[in-house]
């Protein structure tokens, strides 16, 4: 039943954002497993992992559409609508990048990463794992901030954002180093191309997480 008095209250967009972020968090473990599997050369489960990420991405898209579609015109939010949508876009792109990484790996039939680069790749993956996981924490802490407006809570959110930035910086440096070494190695060009692009897509996960953090920073600004 529709009661105008109640219809004034629209479900918090943070509910949707959190749901979206939780789905992304679910991908963390799968992503990690998939990359390890790819590195190990003897990989059978990779396709399963990739399909799982595809499925989650599909779910997340539905949540994203629901958030965008259920804010009628004339809705007053605690932040600007464009900030919310921009945030959502960046958060969604984190998942898109995870998916793209696994897709990119799957395009090449020959699995594995040359031993020389395995350690750096592992470090790069480690640097982006935390940002993927942190998103849901950031959203839920952000929601708490919008409930109690406490200065302490603002600091909690800002710390998470700073952490995301730090990881992005780390990932950037690793990506740089990897690419430099790859181009100066004597591997065949196809392998190099595949690995360079792989490093770039993995790095972009941290980029988008950082962008999401920046948008959250703008939302909680005084």
């Amino acid at each position: 039943m529709r009661i105008p008095f109640i219809s004034m209250f629209i479900t918090s967009p943070f509910d949707g954002l959190l749901e979206h972020a939780e789905i992304i968090k679910e991908c963390t473990w799968i992503f990690q497993q998939a990359i390890e599997c790819h590195v190990s050369k003897d990989c059978r489960q990779f396709e399963e992992f990739r399909q799982e990420v595809h499925r989650l991405e599909h779910d997340a898209d539905a949540v994203k559409r629901r958030i965008r579609g259920h804010l009628p015109k004339g809705t007053l939010l605690q932040m600007d609508k464009f900030q919310l949508f921009r945030y959502l876009r960046e958060q969604d792109r984190v998942l898109d990048s995870v998916e793209e990484t696994l897709d990119w790996i799957s395009y090449r039939d020959e699995p594995g990463i040359p031993e020389d680069f395995q350690k750096d790749f592992a470090l790069l993956v480690d640097a982006v794992i935390e940002p993927i996981e942190e998103l849901s924490t950031m959203v839920s802490e952000g929601r708490t901030f919008f409930q109690n407006f406490s200065e302490k809570q603002r600091v909690v959110v800002k710390d998470i954002i700073r952490n995301l930035r730090k990881h992005e910086h780390e990932a950037d440096q690793l990506e740089d180093r990897l690419k430099r070494r790859m181009f100066n190695s004597d591997l065949d060009p196809v392998t190099i191309f595949h690995m360079v692009r792989l490093a770039e897509t993995i790095g972009s996960i941290a980029d988008h997480a950082e962008n999401a953090g920046d948008m959250m920073r703008a939302m909680v600004a005084k």
Binding site: I3, P4, F5, I6, M8, L76, F149
Partner: protein, 408 residues
Amino acid sequence: MTSEYSVLIIGYIFGFYMAWNIGANDVANSMASAVGAKAITIRQALFIAGILNVVGAVFIGSHVTDTIRKGIVSTDVLTDPHLALIGALSALLAAALWVSFATWRSLPVSTTHSIVGAMIGFGIMAGGFSVINWGILGAVVLSWIISPVFSLALGFLIFKIIVRLILTRGDPFDRALSLSPWFVGATAFVMVLSFLFKTPLGKTLSLGTPSALLLALLISAALGVAGMKLLKRIIRPKGPHGEEAIFKRIQIATACYVALAQGANDVANAIGPLAVIYFLVKTGGIGAQVPVPTFLLLFGGVGIACGIGMAGHRVMETIGTKITTLTNTRGFSVEFAAATTVLVASKLGLPVSTTHAAVGGVMGVGLARGLAAVNFRIIFQIIIYWVLTVPAAAITSVIIFKILEYFL
């Protein structure tokens, strides 16, 4: 004479029906923010609203009522007892039907405005357009704008103050506790004043404005300090939302007060016309005011309570599940804004409804960025029904008047 008694019986039925509708329609508006903020459960809300409406109606409700609600129509139309009888019946039924329709369609309308509209319809039929007091009608129209706007401003201000002085501070719980005398006191101040100015019992004390203000100030100061002492004793947990727990207690008090005041004021909407019929049948003539026997007040109070009990649950459940982002500080801001608006507006002689004020309060807190998402477009829909209330009740009243005139 037998036909007159059958009219009286019909009057009882219509009166009960109207009271039932008042309960069904108004309970959502008075209890919505308390239930939405989880200050009280649905069951508690229904219980509190039911009991206090009866208590308010019987003990605070007026034992004398204006024959014509708010004096919207000149009392000249009442000179012919037969016409007055038909008029009171048709006004009662027309208002009840409109409120019924609104309850069915889940629209928050004002029951006072409904009865005022229905009286206009009867007045036009009985004495033409000249008997209508256009000044009062103007006040009704003015109240459509003033009460939400005033309440919006107040809700905005209160919530901003709470954010600035309590929420953003290092230890919001301690801040809330040390400032609680001010919030409790301000709430008590509004409550005492509305009790003195608005309720019929308060009016019989007939205090002048300065002495009423002084009395309210003294009582609220005492209650504020006592409230803090009590809050200190009952609220132990310093959990993450200690400050909300403090406002939760204040909110319960305001919810109770609103239910009590509602019973005292709104019972006249159903019982006023019924008292006219009762008096006409018993004595054969009436003046500008009629006495209301206590059993009629009880009858109206029980009718309201029945409406709350039977239809309230459906409404409350929707509120409980739909309004999830309302916390106690927000709920308090909305309620305080609404109660103060109703007080100030009725002191100014504007016939306001709690519904209109509550909607304004929600928008104010929303504008202060206190609510996750507020749909402002809904307000147009709500306003349309506020504006429609008077003409719709008037036209229904005219039609019923014509039909009754034919039969009686």
